[in-house]
């Protein structure tokens, strides 16, 4: 009794305390319910508006088999044509002449093999360029590490421009500068990867522990020393992981940029389409699909090994 008497604050009676809590709780629930309803209405409205702008509700004229034309909703009218296109690309494979059918399907295998190698090399060199550029710029582009706000601003804008412009557009520009060939592809992928990797790396940098950097600074280290000794050892495993992921993406990109003349398999898509060799398209698709699956599998194994090594030591 004497103990409670010594506590200076005036606490209300228990009934009042619980009553206040119940009122607060009820009003909190009311608020979250209202927020949910407003959010849902806004979302549904926005969804309807964007699908309308995207021609989802459009009616269009279609030709019927008997030659007459009729107004139809665009979605069910278009879907059969997708099947039509895919069926065009399916090669004729018969069981009793499977070997020769395959040979006919992959009739340009020698050219495609070389172009596949070129595709992989473009992706590799492009990734290397992207890693160098992204790594160097990720430190000035990290909010916690940047020496001052102007450097931060410049580094971030450069990375934004590099990654906002798609590889295909960079490829078009570089084909114009350096003519048709893999150099344009390497530069296009390298520049886009610089922007994408620089962003990812700089976000890793923003989550590091700053105390080691302070320790280096307090010993008389420069900004570069702080980065090299304090930051780089912390971010290295993540950088390896993101780099492998980016290589997978770059293989996919480098297989298409040939469409605008920047080297690799992509140019074959263009040839096949212009000669209406639809079966070639499916052959090319199979080649790219198998390659990407193999690279995905390999890089995933490698990434897990890197993470595993990390966990052990």
């Amino acid at each position: 009794m004497t103990l409670t008497a010594e506590i200076p604050s005036q606490r209300p009676a228990p009934i009042d305390r619980f009553h206040t809590f119940e009122q607060d709780f009820a009003s909190k629930r009311q608020r979250s319910k209202r927020a949910w309803i407003i959010g849902s209405v806004l979302f549904l409205g926005l969804f309807a508006l964007t699908s309308w702008m995207g021609d989802f509700f459009k009616y269009t004229q279609v030709s019927l088999p008997d030659g007459s034309r009729e107004w139809r909703w665009i979605i069910p009218a278009g879907i059969p044509r997708l099947g039509e296109y895919i069926s065009l690309t399916i090669p004729t494979l018969r069981w009793n002449s499977l070997g020769s059918d395959f040979a006919e399907w992959f009739w340009r295998w020698q050219i495609w093999g070389w172009l596949l190698l070129e595709t992989l090399l473009i992706a590799f060199v492009g990734t290397v360029l992207g890693v160098i550029g992204g790594f160097v710029l990720s430190f000035p582009a990290a909010r916690n590490l940047s020496p001052n706000k102007w450097v931060l601003w410049a580094a971030r804008r450069y990375l934004e421009i590099a990654r906002t412009v798609p590889e295909l557009v960079w490829a078009l520009i570089f084909v114009f500068c350096f003519s048709v060939g893999p150099l344009a592809g390497v530069l296009a992928i390298g520049l886009h990867a610089t922007g994408a990797l620089g962003k990812l790396y700089s976000e890793v940098n923003e989550n590091i522990d700053m105390r080691p950097l302070e320790g280096v600074k307090a010993s008389g280290g420069t900004w570069f020393d702080q980065i090299r000794f304090g930051a780089v050892p912390q971010v290295l495993p993540n950088i390896v992981s993101y780099t492998l992921l980016r290589f997978e993406i770059n293989v996919r990109s480098s297989s298409i940029i040939g469409y605008v003349g920047a080297g690799g398999l992509g140019q074959e898509f263009r040839t096949a389409m212009s000669f209406q060799e639809y079966a070639d398209l499916s052959a090319l698709f199979v080649i790219i699909f198998v390659t990407v699956v193999i690279i995905d599998y390999g890089s995933e194994k490698l990434r897990h090994r890197v993470i595993g090594m990390e966990a052990q030591s």
């Binding site: 105390r211 080691p212 302070e214 320790g215 280096v216 600074k217 307090a218 010993s219 008389g220 280290g221 420069t222 570069f224 020393d225 090299r228 000794f229 304090g230 050892p233 912390q234 290295l236 030591s313």
Partner: protein, 267 residues
């Protein structure tokens, strides 16, 4: 040859808070000085001001003839090397080995390329191993710093400070995160370095008995100002009560906050 470290009218504001408020202090070479005071009294800020991890809002710090407050660039980095700093959370690079962590103490002497390549000379490595040997850590030299115990990490930090060949060692709550056994090991190391190398030690402490046991001189801070400056014997209960603002508490016992296991010996 060492000089006197002088703080005159040094202030540092963070927004509206006066972390350090017109502090005056002068520290003779070779002293072992403890800084006490309640949390937020400005102890940590004062050490950071001396090492120039933060800049004062006003006032000046000098070391003999050297005006510390106006240093820039390479001269500033050399000053930081000369007054080595030890942190409560050790501030080591967990993923680098102990040896490399110690060698970070040599970076002030390195050019851009050799430090980017993490290349150190044989002399520097020998220096680092000798420093580690003084702290009984040679067997751990090639282990990652993050795998060591807190007490070992703090001794690595002291070894790193040693290879800087400093004139002053600033220690910001070096034992606040350590258990009593490791805490006394770290304090003993600091005292040995102070006695054997003649390096001035300025250490923030949050326990009175540690300050009493190790320090030649005790400075107390209160609300950013130097409130008490004397020897352990002058720290009477009344003074301690004023320092920590314990007016409301009837019974105050320093042993309650103690983190040492050794019985305090006369300083």
């Amino acid at each position: 040859m060492s000089s006197i470290l002088t703080l005159s009218q040094v202030s540092r504001q963070f927004g509206d808070t006066h972390a350090v408020d017109r502090a005056n202090l002068s520290i003779e070479p070779g002293q072992f000085v403890g800084v006490i005071g309640r949390s937020g009294a400005g102890k940590s800020t004062m050490l950071r001001l001396i090492n120039r991890l933060i800049d004062p809002t006003s006032g000046s710090i000098s070391f003999g003839e050297l005006d510390v407050t106006s240093l820039k660039g390479k001269a500033l980095r050399q000053w930081r090397r000369d007054c080595a700093m030890i942190f409560q959370q050790f501030n080591l690079v967990d993923r680098l080995d102990v040896l490399t962590n110690v060698l970070i103490g040599r970076l002030a002497e390195h050019g851009f390329l050799s430090s980017m390549a993490m290349r150190f000379s044989d002399e520097e490595r020998a220096m680092a191993i000798q420093a580690l040997d003084r702290l009984d850590l040679v067997p751990q030299a090639l282990q990652r710093a993050g795998t060591l115990s807190g007490g070992q990490q703090q001794r690595v930090a002291i070894a790193k400070a040693l290879v800087q060949k400093p004139k002053i060692m600033l220690a910001d709550e070096p034992i606040a995160s350590l258990d009593p056994a490791n805490a006394s090991l770290v304090m003993e190391s600091l005292r040995r370095i102070n006695r054997e190398d003649g390096i001035t030690v300025l250490v923030n402490l949050h326990t009175l008995d540690t300050a009493r046991a190790y320090c030649d001189r005790i400075i107390a801070m209160r609300q950013g100002r130097v409130f008490f400056d004397g020897v352990a014997a002058q720290l009477t209960d009344g003074v301690v009560r004023d320092i920590y603002g314990l007016e409301g508490l009837k019974d105050f016992n320093a042993d309650i906050t103690s983190t040492t296991i050794r019985t305090p010996m006369p300083a």
